[in-house]
C-alpha cells in the first residue's frame, strides 16, 4: 500500500475544457474560476499572436492549452494529467509581482512502480510511474495566476501577453509563465522545506537525491535539517547531479561563468561570485586582469565614486581594477568616474547583506560610452577583500584579480557541468532551491524570474527542464 499526502485544498471542479490530446501525454485544464472571472471573463478582445479567442477568458484558456500541449508533446504518461487552474489576486507592487504559482496537489511514496523507496513523488509523476491514477478524485497540479497583472499597483502597465507566438514585446509572455509553472507541477520542485530543512512527513523528495552541496559534499537526502538550511543559502554551491541534466549542460549552457578571480595574496585567493552589469562591455574571456585599488572618498572609509575622483584616488586607480562601494548614486555613475580616472574595470561591493550580489542596472541618463567592465560582489566578500587591502599603499596593493569569464565553468554550472540551484541568501520562500540559479545563460525557463529572451522550448539545446524531469522519472 502506498502513502499519500494531499498538499492543497482543492476547489470545486469547474467546467472541463477540451482536452489537448496530441503528444505522449494528455493534459487537461480544469477551470476552477467562478463565473465572470479569469477563464470566464467575458470581456471582448481582439485576436492576438495566433490566439483566436474572442473573450479575455477564452484567450486565457487557449494560452493554457498551448502550454499544456507543449508539455503533453514532451512527457509521456498513460494517465491524463489534470491541471486545476484559477486566476486570483497574488502578491504584487507597482514594480514587482508574483506572476503565478503551481505545484503538485498530492505526493505519493512507496507505490508500485516507484523508482526509489521512501521518497515522495508528485501526483502526475506517481500516476505515470504506477500506470493508474492513484487518486482519480483529485487533479494532479494546482496552479494560480495573477489576475491583476498590469493593473495600477501590480507591475503597473505590464500585462500578460496572450498570443502564442512569443512576440510579447514589453509584456510578459503568458505561455512561457504557464510552461514554467506546469513544470513545477510535473515535478520541478522539492517537497522538503528549505527554510526549516524539514522533510515532508519525515521522508525525502525524489529531488533530494540529486541536490548536492559542494561545500559539505552531501546530498540533501543525506543531510540533517540544519545542514539543509545552510545549504539552501549556500549560493552557487548547491548543484543538480542528475545524469540526464549533467549530460545536457554542455549543449545548453554557454561556456564561461562571470567571476572575480583573485590570484594573490594567497589568503584571499579564489573565485568570488559576481553580479553583472547591464551597461558597458560584457564580462568576457580572458577579461581584465590587474592590481586591485580601493577608492576612498567618503567619511566612514567608503569609496562611493559618485563624483569625479580626487587626484589621490585617480593616482591609485589609474591602470588598475577599482574597488568601490555601492550606494548614493547609480552603478553606472561609479563606473564612469572610475573609467575617467583610468581604471581598467570596476568592482562594486554591495552595501547590504545577502548573496548572490545584485545585477547592476543601467542608467540611461549617462550617455558617455562605458568601455570597462563592471561587476558587483557581496558585502561579505567586499569586507574580506578590503581587510586584505588594509596594508596597501596608495599605488600598490599586491592584490591581483581577473574580472572575466572563467572558462572552467559553464554559465550556471560548476566545473563538473552540474547546474547551480537557486540558493540566495537570505532564503526566498517559494523560489529558493526549486529553480536554477540566475547565473544560467542562455536564460533558462526554470530560473526564478521569467526573462524576456526565453523561448517556448523545454528541451536541449535550448533548455534543461526536461532533462531534469527525466532524472526524476519522466520520459
Amino acid at each position: 500500500m502506498f502513502s499519500r499526502m494531499r498538499l492543497a485544498v482543492l476547489l470545486a471542479f469547474g467546467a472541463l475544457v477540451s482536452p489537448a490530446a496530441f503528444g505522449a501525454a494528455t493534459i487537461t485544464i480544469v477551470n476552477a474560476d467562478p463565473a465572470g472571472v479569469g477563464f470566464n471573463d467575458p470581456t471582448v478582445v481582439a485576436p492576438v499572436g495566433g490566439n483566436a479567442g474572442t473573450t479575455l477568458g477564452q484567450q486565457r484558456l487557449i494560452a493554457f492549452q498551448a502550454a499544456g500541449n507543449k508539455w503533453g508533446a514532451t512527457v509521456t504518461s498513460a494517465i491524463t494529467i489534470r491541471i486545476q487552474a484559477q486566476w486570483t489576486a497574488l502578491t504584487c507592487t507597482a514594480t514587482s509581482a508574483v506572476l503565478g504559482s503551481a505545484g503538485a496537489t498530492e505526493v505519493f511514496r512507496d507505490f508500485t512502480g516507484a523508482p526509489v523507496a521512501a521518497h515522495w513523488y508528485g501526483k502526475a509523476l506517481a500516476d505515470k510511474l504506477n500506470g493508474t491514477d492513484l487518486d482519480p478524485a483529485t487533479a494532479d497540479i494546482n496552479a494560480n495566476f495573477n489576475v491583476n497583472l498590469g493593473q495600477a499597483g501590480c507591475l503597473t502597465g505590464t500585462f500578460f501577453y496572450l498570443g502564442l507566438d512569443n512576440l510579447h514585446g514589453a509584456n510578459i509572455d503568458l505561455v512561457t509563465v504557464l510552461t514554467h509553472e506546469f513544470a513545477h507541477g510535473l515535478g520541478f520542485q522539492t517537497f522538503t522545506s528549505g527554510s526549516t530543512g524539514a522533510q515532508l512527513a519525515g521522508f525525502p523528495s525524489s529531488w533530494d537525491d540529486f541536490l548536492f552541496d559542494t561545500t559539505t559534499a552531501l546530498t540533501w537526502t543525506a543531510m540533517t535539517a540544519a545542514q539543509r538550511v545552510t545549504s539552501a543559502i549556500n549560493t552557487q554551491k548547491l548543484v543538480w547531479t542528475g545524469a540526464n541534466t549533467v549530460a545536457a549542460v554542455p549543449g545548453v549552457l554557454q561556456l564561461g561563468l562571470p567571476l572575480l578571480g583573485v590570484s594573490a595574496p594567497a589568503p584571499v585567493a579564489g573565485n568570488y561570485i559576481v553580479g553583472t552589469a547591464a551597461f558597458g562591455p560584457a564580462v568576457s574571456s580572458p577579461g581584465v586582469t590587474g592590481e586591485v585599488a580601493q577608492v576612498l572618498d567618503t567619511a566612514g572609509n567608503l569609496g562611493l565614486a559618485c563624483t569625479a575622483l580626487s587626484a589621490l584616488n585617480a593616482a591609485s586607480v589609474a591602470g588598475k581594477i577599482a574597488l568601490v562601494d555601492r550606494g548614493t548614486c547609480t552603478f553606472k555613475t561609479k563606473t564612469l568616474n572610475a573609467q575617467l580616472a583610468g581604471a581598467t574595470a570596476v568592482i562594486i561591493a554591495n552595501n547590504a547583506a545577502g548573496s548572490p550580489p545584485p545585477g547592476l542596472g543601467d542608467d540611461a541618463t549617462i550617455v558617455t560610452p562605458i568601455t570597462i567592465p563592471t561587476v558587483s560582489i557581496t558585502q561579505a566578500d567586499g569586507v574580506t577583500l578590503k581587510a586584505s587591502l588594509a596594508t596597501r599603499s596608495r599605488m600598490h596593493s599586491g592584490m591581483t584579480a581577473n574580472v572575466g569569464l572563467n572558462l572552467s565553468f559553464r554559465a550556471g554550472a560548476d566545473s563538473s557541468n552540474r547546474p547551480f540551484m537557486y540558493t540566495p541568501n537570505p532564503f526566498q520562500s517559494g523560489s529558493s532551491v526549486s529553480h536554477w540559479d540566475t547565473s544560467a545563460f542562455p536564460n533558462q525557463l526554470m530560473e526564478p524570474a521569467i526573462n524576456a529572451d526565453l523561448t517556448h522550448e523545454v528541451t536541449p539545446p535550448n533548455d534543461l527542464t526536461f532533462p531534469l524531469l527525466k532524472d526524476i522519472g519522466w520520459n
Binding site: A264, P265, L296, D297, T298, A299, G300, N301, L302, S310, A311, L312, A315, S316, K386, A387, A390, T391, R392, S393, R394, M395, H396, S397, G398, M399
Partner: protein
C-alpha cells in the same frame, strides 16, 4: 638585520635591549613584528578617526625590506586613520636603561616611488622610565616630549625618501649619566583625504659609547672568631662605581664561597633573594652609579678545629658589569684557639663591724673561656689586715683553713661556675675602716692569667666606747651595730 639575529641565535633576543661596553643597546630587524610586543615594543594608534590598520608586517607588493626577507620591515599606511582623519601612530622601543648623550640611533625608512600623498615621521624620546604614555589623541605626545628628528617635517609631497635611507641621530641634551626611557617612532600625518601613503621602518639600532655599570663587592667582619663560635657574622656590600653607568636591569648575583672551617647558617639582606643558608643571592633592580645595594649579612658557625686564619671569597656578577677586576673580595679572619679562662669574684655578707665575727666573703669561680677546664683548679683567699678567717668551705671544694686554699679537679664547662666558696671572718676591734679581701684562681688549664683575681673591699665604721651603764652600753652597742649595718648597706647601694 637577519645576520644579527643569526649571530645572537634567537630572533627574540635580537629585539631585547641589553647594555654593554660595546654600546649595543637595541637592535631590531622586524623579521616578525608579532614577536615585538613580548620583547617590550609598544604599538599605539592614537589616530583620530581610527582606521583599519595599526603597524603591520611590511607588504612586499609595495616594496621589499632594507634587510632580510622582503616583508621584514615595519609598515604603516594611511589606513591608520579613516578617510579624512589625522594619523598619530606610535611604535615605542623597549625600555632602554642606559640612554646617554653621545649614543647613536640609526634606522632606515622610506615610502614608495612616486608616492601621490605626503608622509611624515617623528622620532621622539621619553626619559620617564618604562612609560609608554603618548597621550590620548592625535595631537598629544605624553612623555615623548623630546624630538630627536623629523622626516619630512613640512609634510610635502616627495619630501619623504622613496628608497631606503639611513637615518642617524646622536643623542644629546640628556641628563649626564644613564637615563631610562624609550624611543618613539610616530607616523604623524594630518588629513588622510589628501595626505599619507605608506612608510616602512627597518633595522633600528641604538649604539654608541654607553657607560656600563661597574660593580664591586666588599666583605667585612668585626674582631676575631674563635674555634667553636656560633653566630659569627660577615657583612657583604655591593656598590656601583661613581663614574659608571647604572646597572642594566639584568640579574645581579652575589656568590660567597666559605672555607672548610666556616659553615653558613643564614644569609639575607633587604631586597635580595637568597636561597638558605648560603645563597647565592640575586636581585634585578637597577643600581645607580655611586650607590650601593642594602648589605647582605652572612651568619656562620666556626668549626671546633678551624685553623686560623679563615679566608673566604665573595663574588658579584651581572647587572651589565663588564669590568670584572673588582668583582671579588677576600676576607681573612683570625680564629682563636679554644681554651678555658677562669675568673673569680668576691662578695661579702654579714657584719664586718669591728669586733664582730659574723661576716663572710663569697668566692665564685667562672669559666669565661670556650673550652672546659682540665686539671686542678686552686683558689687562694688573702685577707687584708684586721680580719682573720674562722672557716672556709664550698660544695665540691677541698679547703684548708690555715692557708685559706681550696682545690678541686672536676671540669668546669664554658660559661659555667663552680659552687660558691664561703670564707667566714672575724673582724678585729681595732680593724681599719677599710677591709680588703683578695681571691685568686689558678690552674684548670687556662692560659689567660690576667683576670684571675677578684678583690672585695668592705668599709667598717670606727668604734666609739662611751662611759655608760652596762645596760645602756648594751643598748648602745646594739644601736651602733644596727647603724653600722645600715651604713654598710648604704655604701653598697
Amino acid at each position: 638585520m637577519r645576520h644579527i639575529a643569526a649571530r645572537l641565535g634567537l630572533a627574540l633576543l635580537a629585539a631585547l635591549a641589553f647594555g654593554g661596553a660595546n654600546g649595543q643597546q637595541l637592535t631590531t630587524n622586524f623579521d616578525n613584528i608579532a614577536t615585538l610586543p613580548a620583547a617590550g615594543w609598544v604599538f599605539t594608534n592614537n589616530s583620530v578617526g581610527l582606521g583599519s590598520a595599526n603597524w603591520f608586517q611590511g607588504n612586499s607588493a609595495v616594496f621589499g625590506s632594507q634587510a632580510g626577507v622582503a616583508t621584514s620591515y615595519l609598515g604603516g599606511n594611511f589606513n591608520a586613520a579613516a578617510f579624512g582623519g589625522n594619523i598619530s601612530l606610535w611604535a615605542l622601543t623597549p625600555t632602554l636603561t642606559n640612554l646617554q648623550n653621545g649614543q647613536t640611533l640609526t634606522f632606515y625608512t622610506r615610502t614608495e616611488p612616486g608616492a601621490p600623498a605626503a608622509d611624515r615621521l617623528e622620532v621622539r624620546l621619553s626619559t620617564n622610565g618604562g612609560s609608554s604614555n603618548v597621550g590620548a589623541n592625535d595631537t598629544t605626545v605624553g612623555d615623548f616630549t623630546t624630538v630627536l628628528t623629523t622626516i619630512n617635517p613640512a609634510l610635502t609631497l616627495a619630501g619623504y625618501p622613496q628608497a631606503w635611507t639611513l637615518q642617524t641621530v646622536t643623542l644629546s641634551g640628556l641628563p649626564v649619566g644613564a637615563n631610562t626611557g624609550r624611543i618613539g617612532f610616530r607616523y604623524f600625518v594630518t588629513n588622510t583625504s589628501a595626505n599619507a601613503d605608506y612608510i616602512g621602518i627597518d633595522t633600528v639600532n641604538v649604539t654608541g659609547s654607553a657607560i656600563a655599570s661597574d660593580l664591586s663587592v666588599t666583605k667585612t667582619h668585626v674582631g676575631n672568631f674563635s674555634q667553636g663560635q656560633t653566630g659569627a657574622t660577615y657583612t657583604i656590600t655591593v656598590s656601583n662605581a661613581a663614574a659608571a653607568g647604572a646597572t642594566d636591569g639584568s640579574t645581579v648575583t652575589v656568590t660567597d664561597t666559605l672555607p672548610a672551617g666556616l659553615t653558613a647558617t643564614a644569609i639575607s639582606g633587604t631586597g635580595w633573594t637568597c636561597p638558605q643558608p648560603a645563597g647565592p643571592c640575586t636581585r634585578n633592580d637597577a643600581l645607580a652609579a655611586g650607590s650601593a645595594y642594602p648589605p647582605l649579612t652572612l651568619t656562620v658557625n666556626v668549626g671546633a678545629a678551624a685553623a686560623s686564619p679563615q679566608v673566604n671569597n665573595v663574588t658579584v656578577s651581572g647587572g651589565g658589569d663588564v669590568t670584572p677586576g673588582n668583582n671579588t673580595a677576600s676576607d681573612s679572619t683570625v680564629i682563636t684557639a679554644a681554651a678555658p679562662d677562669l675568673t673569680i669574684t668576691s662578695t661579702h655578707t654579714g657584719s664586718f663591724a669591728p669586733g664582730s665575727s659574723g661576716g663572710a666573703f663569697l668566692l665564685t669561680v667562672t669559666n669565661i673561656g670556650n673550652a672546659p677546664t682540665f686539671g686542678t683548679v686552686t683558689v687562694v683567699d688573702t685577707l687584708g689586715p684586721g680580719m682573720s678567717a674562722t672557716a672556709i668551705s664550698g660544695a665540691g671544694w677541698t679547703c684548708t683553713l690555715a692557708t685559706r686554699t681550696c682545690t678541686r679537679s672536676d671540669a668546669l664547662a664554658p660559661s659555667a661556675s663552680y659552687s660558691v666558696i664561703t670564707v667566714t671572718v672575724s673582724v678585729a676591734s681595732n680593724a681599719p675602716s677599710t677591709l680588703t679581701n683578695s681571691a685568686t684562681v689558678s690552674g684548670g688549664g687556662e692560659t689567660n692569667v690576667s683576670n684571675d683575681t677578684g678583690n672585695d673591699i668592705v668599709a667598717a665604721a670606727a668604734l666609739i666606747v662611751p662611759t655608760l651603764s652596762e645596760t645602756m652600753l648594751v643598748v648602745m652597742s646594739m644601736l651602733l651595730g644596727l647603724m653600722a649595718l645600715v651604713g654598710v648597706r648604704r655604701r653598697r647601694n
